[in-house]
Symmetry: C3
Subunit: 346 residues, 3 copies
Amino acid sequence: MFVRNCWYVIAWEHEVPADGFFARVVLEEPIVVFRTAAGHWVALEDRCCHRSAPLSKGRREGDCLRCGYHGLKFDATGQCIEIPGQERIPRDMRVRSYPVVLHNKWVFVWMGDPALADRGMLPDNFSNEHPDWRYLPGYLHYDTDYLLICDNLLDFSHLSYVHEKTLGGSVAIAQSQAQIEPVTAPGQRGLTVTRRVPDVPPPPYYSKLRTFAGHVDRWFIYDFLLPGTLLMRSGGRPVGARPDDMSNAVQLHSCQTLTPETATTTHYFFQQAHSAQLDDPVFTQAIYDNLILAFNEDRDMITAQAGNLRRTPHARQVAIAADAALMQFRRLLERAVIAESQERAA
Amino acid sequence: MFVRNCWYVIAWEHEVPADGFFARVVLEEPIVVFRTAAGHWVALEDRCCHRSAPLSKGRREGDCLRCGYHGLKFDATGQCIEIPGQERIPRDMRVRSYPVVLHNKWVFVWMGDPALADRGMLPDNFSNEHPDWRYLPGYLHYDTDYLLICDNLLDFSHLSYVHEKTLGGSVAIAQSQAQIEPVTAPGQRGLTVTRRVPDVPPPPYYSKLRTFAGHVDRWFIYDFLLPGTLLMRSGGRPVGARPDDMSNAVQLHSCQTLTPETATTTHYFFQQAHSAQLDDPVFTQAIYDNLILAFNEDRDMITAQAGNLRRTPHARQVAIAADAALMQFRRLLERAVIAESQERAA
Amino acid sequence: MFVRNCWYVIAWEHEVPADGFFARVVLEEPIVVFRTAAGHWVALEDRCCHRSAPLSKGRREGDCLRCGYHGLKFDATGQCIEIPGQERIPRDMRVRSYPVVLHNKWVFVWMGDPALADRGMLPDNFSNEHPDWRYLPGYLHYDTDYLLICDNLLDFSHLSYVHEKTLGGSVAIAQSQAQIEPVTAPGQRGLTVTRRVPDVPPPPYYSKLRTFAGHVDRWFIYDFLLPGTLLMRSGGRPVGARPDDMSNAVQLHSCQTLTPETATTTHYFFQQAHSAQLDDPVFTQAIYDNLILAFNEDRDMITAQAGNLRRTPHARQVAIAADAALMQFRRLLERAVIAESQERAA
């Protein structure tokens, strides 16, 4: 169940070498991305239209790619401009070109109708590239459907259990109630989820970030956007501190996004940025290390869950109140998929 | 082709930690077993009824299991008794509970209609727990259908070839005739197979057990019971010794059982017990080591056989006289499966 | 898409031990080959007709094979001649026997109707066994359909790109035109492909073979025969040398053949022989090492191509002029397959 008319992250900017290219499979389609000498981003089908060899097994020649099998050369629009040993080039000798844009360190490709590609739909992943924020970039590969990871990110009650020793630290997170509202961010479809957890012990990983004498008030406020992007402000401050007093608080902003590789595998790009101790790389590393630890806890659980679902795809599932956000999101997604198929049919 | 209304071994008792739990897949179903503080055995579906996560990825709390994903807590009957952050618990918020019983070191689960679970159908695996017998417990995992292993255990002519250098030692085993009769053990369906092999060299592994001056008379007398349990007395004595004179004999009792994990993978639990030299752990170890060696010979052959069957599932097979027991057993099994499906339909 | 009424190489002669046997899967069928004491080659179905165990897991007894599972013994015609413990042997207790012949170091099996097996259809792989030629034998396993490798061998334009640093060395190869004609070799179906590439730098690997002061004229002249055999004369001589003056030339003869293991995996047997420096094993080794290097370049590319085809089996492909030979060959193959199926129906 893929929405196609939207932006998917294919790579962190730094993954794409300046004079080379980078290949990933997105929504079952092999894609190769690079940046021209003039700095324009290019995303092409990573499959030569001659005999289906990946262009990424070939080489870059200026702003063109040459297939490494029989030497066909393609320009940045995907048009073949050279066939060794042959004068005439058939008009349909071209590979698909995808709209592509760099936006705050993430390279996005548009997987649907190119005519509908709209930069206004890019998520506000500002902390990926902002002078007041620091982070280390993260990537994980999942051997599961991306929807299971969406589910996970839409219900933070799991912090109390999956992340008891990392991000969680208290059952109060699971016992608290999240508010769910439609997103108001322009150009976006999704949900805004707000969860406040007053008067709890600081979570285990805070010990690396700041010393608290007693309990803290915690908050998690995020947009979860189609197709699978989380943008979150979260943090904790001493119990009793005024909401606008951040002088003794931990404050974080996180950008996370899921890109289906196939129906059963997923790319996960993420970071968690901080806006204090900007010049302390040890601090930045500590946040990153904790995040990787925690996200591996998620992956371990979700992979086990996927194993059970693979074994019995139609196992009975009973919903609980905490499923409200994930169920609303799955309905949003389903409606978007149906709407797209109706548009294509029209 | 699984019979469901019967007991399957899910674990050796020692595999289940006293204060924890143990999980295995049986007949395609994930199951977690544990023992309450009061000593009662519990077997629950290892799949949370909320979002299908394995309960075995969570933790034990007293006689309950708490799911490690969103914290739902289940009592020993499988009923959910706590949903974090939610007062009301839906009545159908429960996981399946299986009849389970410990019987002579094997933990059995009943995979069919719980109302039919009958301790009278447990096999007489006495040597698993008897003061006059010693053994080391064995377990092997097979990447094949359990029926191929049943076939193997129902025709000992293979000892002459597969186990030439371990359990066999003479072609006379294959040349001897087995007698096959219906089992008379109460509550059991299956076959009693008797094979006597007079005047043969002691098999290679006897050299670790006892010194024989010349040839021996060997015997193998076993019940092979639905769904896949072998209970066997076997041994060898000097040629000419009276059948009731065990003073110079090797005497063994073996309990072996097959539990289908899936249609193509199998759990194999086994032991071979001796009733002499009870206080000699080196002797016990020697029997175990030889058995592991021999059972790996079987697994190697049966896995190769399964490879050929996977390649050409409908390859022609021609029966021989030695197939009598395995063919009778497969018919028993087939009739039991058909009978169960008719009972369910009625 | 397999042609069956033809010879396929199952092994290099040296792979089959004199007093043992050798097993490979050919066209999805497991086969075991050996040579009798009298020197006759035997190829039998490697699957006991009793319970499908591979005979190659058993042992050789004289000119017979005994199954290692239950001890059935088969003679060199595939007839069962002994069933342990059983007097009568059913007439249909036999495994399939394949026509098999050793021809210049390659062991060929005939996979179709044995009545049609015709030694006149064996390819002229003379350099495999000729006093004037030297080589080291090669074998590679592919996880791809054999047709993709046929494609590769039928269009040498790929030498310029896949083998730029080994066999190629110049884009002129891709820019040159190949002549394609029906083969005239007796008993053969296939194409003769001739490619001449004048006035190019010697390819990188020539540096190990001979020193050239300047450019060379290169030639590649080969038959590509059903089901997938390449027989090639190739070489290079100083620009300006007369075609019949080989005194300063590199001259090679190559025999290569593809045997489908399954629809998606392939055995590749090959050699590249030289007729100069016959007594210099370092020279022979250098040619072999370069060939292995180059053939791994092919395998790497073709495996990546197969990955794309697996992902999207019906991806659009646009033909170019260089595809002429491979398209003609695929048509030959298709016609042969259709003809065979019509013959079977008739």
